[in-house]
């Protein structure tokens, strides 16, 4: 069965408890969330959730219907992978015992268009943005050096062009 990642965008009421309601529904229905990112939108009383899920067509359809059923969820859209920009950001902390490794890491970071954002005598922190595959690849590359800590934001996405999931006022 085809179980690829699907990105769902949900416009929800921006108030306490909504994330709990959404997360609770996913847990209760035995749906898995691969990643979720939540933030305010350009409309101050609305928030946008970008939820990445895995499942076959039937399961995704159920997830969208169950999301729509929640009263605080105003609009749900499935973002088609071919017509969206999706990004994830990660902060990666790498141990750097010597100057040689340090310059190697900085070179790799350059190739990945990542930035060094913190340096200490024994570690480096790199900020990297891109699609999830790119971030996976960078982290894999850093593993031999010693990855101390990774913080990933989860995927966030918008559809290309004028199409939007906006709520018209």
């Amino acid at each position: 069965m085809d179980k690829k990642n699907t990105i769902i965008a949900a416009i929800v009421e921006h108030k306490p408890g909504v994330l709990y309601n959404v997360a609770n529904m996913f847990r209760r229905r035995n749906f898995n969330i691969e990643s979720i990112s939540v933030g305010p939108t350009e409309q101050s009383d609305l928030a946008r959730m970008t939820i990445t899920v895995k499942g076959d067509e039937k399961l995704i359809e159920q997830m969208i219907k169950q999301l729509n059923k929640l009263i605080d969820v105003i609009k749900v859209s499935r973002l088609e992978p071919t017509s969206i920009v999706s990004r994830e950001m990660a902060l990666v902390k790498i141990t750097t015992p010597g100057a040689k490794t340090r310059s190697d890491i900085i070179n790799y970071a350059d190739i990945f268009r990542a930035r060094v954002v913190d340096v200490s005598s024994e570690s480096l922190m790199v900020e990297i943005t891109g699609d999830s595959n790119k971030i996976d690849a960078f982290i894999d590359l850093m593993k031999p050096f010693g990855v101390k800590e990774v913080a990933r934001t989860g995927i966030t996405a918008l559809s290309r062009g004028v199409k939007s999931v906006r709520i018209e006022e």
Binding site: E61, K65, I71
Partner: protein
């Protein structure tokens, strides 16, 4: 705008909703509301003896009347005791409003506030999120009018369900300018009620071609008051109607086209005939596992039309050919109107003749002596005694399945049972609620000894509040449904099902000031029921029956319709 306290606003909102009764138990965190109730004669408060009963009674009230039922409890244990009742209402889509007290939401005189684990604090919002349609916790008194209005709107529209409002104590006492309006603006909640014309057309095309149509009518038909539309459509199509438990009563069971219950303990006629259907019109039903059995054996050759107001039910369990997301009443009407222009109404068809043959072949036969208190005989006798509009509630277990199979319901909202959650102890408090909603009609709880004991303390409530109901305890001294499974599937290893012959239900009833009587023959049973339904005090009729009595037919859990066990002889 009127200045009043939060507690006054709660009661004012209930009055505006024309709430006539609240089932509840007082406690520390709801004192301000009870203080207002003290001077509100328009709203009757019914003091339950356990909050679970208050919730079930509100549920029973809602199911009998079609109006939302209201229950109330204090914070902490009061609120958590409501939980089973709320979950039960949620599973069966019953419009219940639950009001709970909560510890203070904001600091007054350095009091403890929510989140500090104060005395009798429980996170009832967190606890009830998965079992309510929605829940609220106002943080300011001025929010109460809007929240109360929205709560009733959400509970009663679309697919109905329970809504909980958690009221922090100092929100109840805070005074504010209150603005009551009739408008509800919820941008995330706009249930679609009208069917899409194209889908109606597709359904009609399928039905016109159908040679062996069957209608599966569930609780949604009752919720949308669509019984007359269902009857008209069934007669036009000459389509038999099977009802899963929640739909029982939506189609008169004495009608030639009625197949009765379908599912795990459905009638032979319904469970066998449905396999022959070429088109299944399912309306207001969610294809629960208890209805369908194993999914691959369920109507695999039939085209399925599924009408439900909850779009998430479409395709959840069964793949359908024509989905229609809309109100059952409007949709059945739309289908009928389109069909009538294309279809000649017939008196009978080959299919309807086959239905009659089936019904004749699988008719329940009463056998044995009258001394033998068989559930079939008792339920048939009960039907003879009760008027058509009498309300029968059931507990859960064998009693429930016997009532569902053998007690014919003729009207919607006259058969009340815990379907989805299967809550033992539901029937008795639900019958109290039903009696409050319909004081002029007899209300009977068909109970088992195991179930009744779970909520029997509310005999005190029914006696003190003068809400007379009749409880028929089919007393087999055993947790009968489980014992049946152990008998059939666990080699008669009866583990933890023996209840002994305690309590003495006659004495128990009398201890509460109710009437208690024990019957040993059909004649005595009949006499006792006739007396009980006219009595001004609740009556418990203890009917000793055999602990070996089973309910058949039965589709074992996990099996399909073809795996139905028809009688004991097959084992």
């Amino acid at each position: 705008m009127t200045k009043m306290s939060g507690a006054q606003a709660v009661i004012e909102a209930l009055k505006r909703q024309k709430v006539e009764a609240i089932f509840g138990i007082v406690g520390g965190a709801v004192l301000p509301i009870y203080d207002v109730l003290y001077e509100t004669p328009e709203i009757r408060h019914i003091l339950a003896r356990h909050e679970q009963c208050a919730a079930h009674a509100a549920d029973g009230y809602a199911r009998a009347s079609g109006r939302p039922g209201v229950c109330m409890a204090t914070s902490g244990p009061g609120a958590t005791n409501l939980v089973t009742g709320i979950a039960n209402a949620y599973m069966d889509s019953s419009p219940v409003i639950a009001l709970t007290g909560q510890v203070n939401a904001f600091a007054v005189n350095s009091s403890y506030i929510i989140g500090k684990d104060a005395f009798q604090e429980a996170d009832i919002i967190g606890i009830t999120t998965p079992i309510t349609k929605y829940n609220y916790q106002p943080k300011k008194a001025s929010e109460i009018p809007r929240i109360m209005k929205e709560a009733f709107h959400i509970a009663t529209t679309g697919r109905p369900g329970p809504v909980l409002i958690d009221l922090p104590k100092n929100v109840q006492t805070e005074t504010a300018e209150m603005k009551f309006t009739d408008n509800v603006e919820l941008r995330g909640y706009k249930p679609k009620t009208s069917p899409h014309p194209l889908q109606v057309k597709k359904a009609v095309e399928l039905l016109l071609k159908a040679e062996r149509p069957i209608i599966l009518a569930g609780g949604g038909v009752i919720a949308s008051n669509a019984s007359s539309e269902l009857l008209a459509l069934a007669e036009l199509l000459m389509a038999p109607v099977a009802t899963p438990l929640m739909g029982k009563g939506c189609f008169p069971e004495n009608h030639p086209l009625s197949l009765g219950d379908m599912g795990m303990h459905g009638t032979l006629a319904a469970n066998k005939l449905i396999l022959e259907a070429d088109v299944l019109l399912a309306v207001g039903t969610r294809f629960s596992d208890r209805t369908t059995g194993k999914l691959d054996e369920f109507c695999s050759d039939a085209k399925i039309i599924h009408i439900d107001i909850d779009s998430a039910e479409i395709g959840k369990n069964v793949d359908v050919d024509v989905p229609i997301v809309a109100d059952a009443k409007k949709t059945l009407k739309a289908i009928y109107q389109l069909l009538i222009s294309k279809l000649q109404k017939k008196e009978s068809s080959q299919w309807s003749k086959r239905v009659q043959e089936f019904k004749e072949q699988f008719k329940d036969e009463i056998s044995g002596s009258e001394k033998d208190l068989k559930p079939l005989r008792l339920m048939k006798e009960l039907r003879k005694i009760l008027p058509n509009d009498a309300i029968v509630a059931t507990e859960v277990g064998l009693n429930q399945m016997w009532a569902a199979l053998y007690f014919m319901a003729y009207k919607p909202r006259t058969f009340i049972s815990s379907g989805g959650l299967g809550t033992m102890g539901f029937g008795f408090p639900a019958s109290i609620g039903a009696k409050v909603a319909c004081p002029d009609r007899p209300v009977v709880d068909v109970a088992g000894d195991g179930s009744f004991i779970m909520t029997s303390q509310d005999l005190a409530c029914s006696v003190m509040e003068k809400i007379p109901v009749t409880v028929i305890v089919l007393n087999n001294s055993v947790l009968g449904m489980v014992a049946q499974w152990q008998r059939l599937f666990y080699g008669r290893r009866y583990s933890a099902v023996d209840l002994g012959n305690v309590p003495d239900f006659v004495k128990l009833a009398e201890a509460y000031g109710a009437k208690g009587t024990r019957v040993g023959s059909l004649k005595e049973f009949s006499k006792a029921v006739k007396k009980a339904i006219k009595s001004e005090v609740t009556t418990v009729i203890d009917v000793p029956i055999s602990p070996e009595e089973n309910v058949f037919p039965m589709i074992p859990a996990g099996a399909g319709l073809k795996g139905m066990i028809e009688s004991e002889g097959e084992l």
